[in-house]
Point group: C3
Chain length 398, copies 3
Amino acid sequence: MGHEHVHEQITALAALDIDFWNRDFLLTWEHREPTLRAVLLAAETIESLVREGLSVRLFDGGLGVSIFRDKSTRTRYAFRAACSLVGLATEELDEGTSQIAHGETVRETAAMVSFLTEVIGIRDDLFLGRGHAYQQEVAAAIEESHRAGVLIERPAVINLQSDLDHPTQSLADLRHLAAHFGSLEALRGKKIAVTWAYSPSYGKPLSVPQGVITLCTRFGMDVVLAHPEGYDLVDDTVSAARRFAGESGGSFTMADSMPAAFAGADIVYPKSWAPAWVMRERTRLVETGGRAALDDLERQALAENARHRDWECTAETMRGTRQGAALYLHCLPADVTGVNCESGEVSREVFERARLDTYRQASYKPFIIAALILAARFRDPAAALEHLLQPPRTRRRE
Amino acid sequence: MGHEHVHEQITALAALDIDFWNRDFLLTWEHREPTLRAVLLAAETIESLVREGLSVRLFDGGLGVSIFRDKSTRTRYAFRAACSLVGLATEELDEGTSQIAHGETVRETAAMVSFLTEVIGIRDDLFLGRGHAYQQEVAAAIEESHRAGVLIERPAVINLQSDLDHPTQSLADLRHLAAHFGSLEALRGKKIAVTWAYSPSYGKPLSVPQGVITLCTRFGMDVVLAHPEGYDLVDDTVSAARRFAGESGGSFTMADSMPAAFAGADIVYPKSWAPAWVMRERTRLVETGGRAALDDLERQALAENARHRDWECTAETMRGTRQGAALYLHCLPADVTGVNCESGEVSREVFERARLDTYRQASYKPFIIAALILAARFRDPAAALEHLLQPPRTRRRE
Amino acid sequence: MGHEHVHEQITALAALDIDFWNRDFLLTWEHREPTLRAVLLAAETIESLVREGLSVRLFDGGLGVSIFRDKSTRTRYAFRAACSLVGLATEELDEGTSQIAHGETVRETAAMVSFLTEVIGIRDDLFLGRGHAYQQEVAAAIEESHRAGVLIERPAVINLQSDLDHPTQSLADLRHLAAHFGSLEALRGKKIAVTWAYSPSYGKPLSVPQGVITLCTRFGMDVVLAHPEGYDLVDDTVSAARRFAGESGGSFTMADSMPAAFAGADIVYPKSWAPAWVMRERTRLVETGGRAALDDLERQALAENARHRDWECTAETMRGTRQGAALYLHCLPADVTGVNCESGEVSREVFERARLDTYRQASYKPFIIAALILAARFRDPAAALEHLLQPPRTRRRE
């Protein structure tokens, strides 16, 4: 009969107590652990189907809508690839990136692009204090229109990066780690160093480190966070990470330098971000229109960054990791010293060695997004996947 | 076996004498009443299929091309949603919105985007005297290439808003009214007030009111049109409305104020538009390149608008409608006083009460477009829908 | 049983010794003649399937990615139409057209847009010495990621126009000639005049004439090339044409005027292009940022062009062709005297007579692209096509 491995995965998925149907996915910490496990397992199962050349066309018509309020190549592509895989056409809503929409406009637009839509992916990460709020507004508007009977179906809102979380990235990262180390269980007790790194640009969102520390702590990992003074993450995410670590039997600690965080680490994730206060001030200035003050803020932030040029992931700092061979993670694109900038997050040598690994890390994102669509839109995700095998159809007609 | 309601709708559709196969849909008044009834019924049937979770994938490959010569969110989305529902991929032709194309370019481009294309949706509403002409040019070019054997199939041109008509809007409006009042027949003798309303912007197309008065008069409705002096619609559409009213047993009358038009109305459609002479002058100035004169025209038009700030749909004006509870229509987005403008077409109170109704009104557009594609591209639309049930496939594989 | 003609075409296709699976298609002269014959025959077969109303949906999910580093309407559309026909969704990567990307960025981006992707179509024709190199970089990056196991499938890179070749155009042209004259064999000994023609614009790529002379010479045609002094094509392509002519029993000769080239020609292809040295200098100036020097170059090139206004295809020059009735080819859009320019490549009279023929010529491109996708992504293209008939599905469900 074949496809035994896929059947086993589906059986394991069916055993999980998922609570996600007809809901949104904005923050991983709003969802229960079995739901997160189900998404990871569904992603793995969908990948297996693809590797076996089978169709994953779960829908026969319908739309995936994307709203990008920031530039994106990787996530935009991953969303399209996932939609295409499961049988949804895509439509991108072009709102412009310069304005911070709110109120009536959001409510109305959300309804207008939801007829026949199964999923709405939103990236809104530029303005701290606004991105998650915007996604909540869209979700509330859809809920209202669905309850009123205006929408026949209720599309799921999926966070493709907000000011608080980047769940398709962090789940792809976790899937990558589980694949690399053998299983999700194998990650228990593994040490991951999430650290700030120098970049000659300013205004990078905080959502990646926030997403990673809040997710890895739920699966028994030892998470160490390090950043220069003043580059604190949003308080709530740090306290959530601490709480999760306590619950899962993992740990969450702080270190005060990259080498300290890297010491004995199995995995390192050195990446630049802006201080929360800079991001909040930027939001305020954009909303009040202070052009000159914005330029000042940028200058000030870059000058502050420049004081921390030593936060670079080099062969030297890597030497302190477990056996000098920690797995290097990056959400890409990285600022690589001597490649796309004079001085950046990572040395050319370290990055070049890890380059194909970072591509592999990225390769899981389409599967994570497809799994989120499956889990949000199908009451019984395991049955839907099983249905794909009755009988199996090849993706290539041959 | 189930789906009896859909079977009944298909049987009713099969009984209609449709004359639309391999033709275009540019103006409702170019089409016979049975064709319009068939489009409305097909839209209702497709909606039923969707509500029952069934696939409406009429095509297995093929393209829907859209050409937007004006900004659009709602109609662009509705076109994509409709194409996706029936199984067509979409491609948007980006011509820029600033130039008024004509001649060779149109003829050639039309052929170039028609290979393997089933439908071409065009919005060209900015320039009075040009939009419909452009759509005719595209249609003629396609007809020529099809006759010459260059095009294997003849894509249908569908008007997604021109200077004369906005048939996907007016048909969606009519479908909304039929759903609201119970049936198309139930609309006979219902009074609809189509009135101008104040807006702080200028240059809004005339196609919505023109589309509504020419369509509602064909189904026995009592249509009242009201606008300030000088805001006349294009003569031909007004005389068509008058003629249709005579033929259908409805009526078409003029009123000289919003309250007069609203008196006893079952339905109100207060909406801003520009005077025809302003739109014609704008076309002339754009074509002759008079930048300064265009600015003057805008100033003059806004000043004229400002004299009619009292044309606002308020709780007070609504009180005069039938039982003070007329159904409020708007094609969206509306200029809502105190929400997105200081003073606009409708008060916040009235709009908020009607808001979800206007979303519902908009929800019919994808089904109307899908029905137009069906009726234009299938020789026997009823048989094509019946085919979808032999056997029925679910849209979600579960 | 029906579809006998298609079965015969598939049988003929199965007999060809193709060597293209899991490879790229950047230059026709990198591929063996049986592969080119197979692409032409597959395109013809796919067209037959479409003419018989049958589905050509070879894929059930997957993406076609396009990268356009130059404006495009026709080729962009043809790529979408082909992808839609075979069942691939499309995604366009928007890089901007102003920069010449290289190095890390290309390598990383190529991997990022390749997960679940079957084909990547690239147009990069603006900068002589760069376009083909860029396509090679993308292909090498994909090959690397595929070998490393990062990509489950290896998407094929297809050249949608580079500085060296425009194979989807030249193959569509050849398919058009075969259809016009009855068969590929019937082209043996037919004379085609590929000549420069005057245009009031500068910077037109050389890839069309280069593509045509290198392809037609492989099938026994008599190819004559003519251009004003200084408008030489890239040396390698001319010497390849000469070599191919020798091998195929055709001929490749030069003439020094349009009338000389046209004498007795069965087919004429008069088209403007820029001198190779101008294109090379432009690349250098863009890369070194010499804005003023670029303006000088443009002025100089236009002045040089203007000395050759007499290179226009007119009724008079056409009179010298075989029976005064050579088939006129153009890749469109043409610069037509008195239509879209004062003085151009072809007179209004000649172009208007040939207009529908040029549309027909263009109509083959989607089929050529579909055939390239088939041949690159299916190990046994004939079996894949045969599979479409077991049983045949209609493209319209009726």
